[in-house]
Amino acid sequence: MSKFQARLRAGVLALGALAFLFPFYYMVIGSLQASPDPTIAGAFPNPANLTVQNYIAINERISLLTGLVNSGIFTGGVLIGTLTFALLAGYSLAQLQWRGRGVVFALALLVQVVPFQLLMIPLYVLIARDYGLGDTHLGMILPFAINSTAVIIFRQYFLQLPKELFEAARIDGASELALLWRIALPLVRPAFITVVLLTFIGPWNEFLWPFLITKDADLQPLAVSLANYITTVAASASNPFGATLAGAVVLAAPVVTLFILTQRYFISTDIGSGVKG
């Protein structure tokens, strides 16, 4: 490998990193500008033009706290559903022998190619109209309640554990739930963290479904209320860009923080195995 090629590679990678990170940097800078400065000089912080006023301004139009709480309930509900039921399903698909498990695993794979958008109309009819769950947290959570990718990732990890381990504990009289809780779970901690991160970003970032199902501003997750601000209210604000970007920073910060904290678990082989089944 020549020196030139190594340099070229470093250059390409650095350029890539810049292209990926710059919009985030610009998001933060823009959210702190008293008056929007789209010139090239505006990409650098100018102490005379910095303010937190935009955060106060957006908070007056859409309550950031309410939005964060609703996003938190939506995400939390999905996390509880997934970590309970996907874990049970993944364990039973990998370590227990029962009739029909091949069918359930095939379904978990199949579900992932069904585009949610095709289900948009019937799910709206069922959940909002027939079950009367429009404008409720439950209606928001229901279509996402168990993440199928999580089922597959858990199954993949539980498959790697030796069956003898479980046989021995069964002979000692441990119940299946005790096996799962005391033996299997501590051994698959990396899978657990991967699943938490993967499951978290879905509902936290989801826009279409909560947008359809919630009309009441007090129930909208932050992604929905910020989108409504962009499409309707922004035109009447004094510094619409600053306020919108301030909202964007608040929406992005929790996920980006969680991602940076757990990134060492978000490695290719885990997700790859999940994706490849």
Binding site: L88, S92, L109, V111, V114, P115
Partner: protein
Amino acid sequence: MSLTNAVPTPSGSAPPSPPPASGSARGKKKKRPLLGRNPLGILFSAPYLVFVILVFAYPLVYSIWIAFHDFFFTAPGVQVERPFVGLDNFVTAFSDPGVIQAFGNVGIFLLINVPLTVVLSLLLAAALNKVTRARTFLRVSYYVPYVTASVAVVAVWIFLFNGSGLVNQVLGPLAPDPSWLINSSWAMPTIAFFVTWKQLGFYILLYLAALQGVPKELYESASTDGAGAVRSFFSVTVPGVRPATVLVLLVSTVTGANLFTEPYLLTNGGGPNGASASPVLLMYQLGLQQGQPDVASAIGVVLVVLVLGIALLQNRFAGGRD
């Protein structure tokens, strides 16, 4: 859509689940119990199975049923006739030039987004796979757009790409007029670039996983045979990651067909003049805003059939001999 509900699995690489009766093989033949050796497994998987039936299987069938019937919203509990109307909803949908245009727009989107995604993610993954310094930093920066909400990053792109935005300031006289997102020839390509940028991290992740599976010996023998870096990239890396390429093609096509948030927010509802409208945006507008869920379902059915067709073609061409 996010990874969590958009990660399909290529049918080719899905291993069939292991034969369930490994236990009965040893020793004397015992009759297998009706529900398997650990019938508790059924109980453990039951909540997931119920979920899949309620949220995927039933709505899927319902969606197709709606597309072939005269369906409209009623107050909860009201019983009304919903007569079978054959292909009427499909005819209504596709007599609307806006619907045809939206399908064309998605075509443009896919022509830009899919090749760009495959080439950039493979190149960046291959380069990332070889570096040792700053690897964590680079990985984190590539994945950050992917884990962040579309709504949040859309806000920055509007700021960057508006008439007097930073991009046009840098381009100076080269900037398109009218600006990117309100220019009918540039609106859809700009959305395609946005989605490429936003999703690229996920595909880099898939390619990185695939690169771990390419045997090192192949590179060694390629270099003994005198192949340079470029040559061994094309003769070892590209064929070595072909299953991942099939997956990247499939996922990026499905993601593209599901386009909604970007035209809704970046171009203010598919503007200018429908130049960036997507079929899913029209499904929302026709189905839920204008109360024609049957016509919207018909669009959905056609969209899915088209995506499946494209996926099969891709699989045939990129799937190759293995």
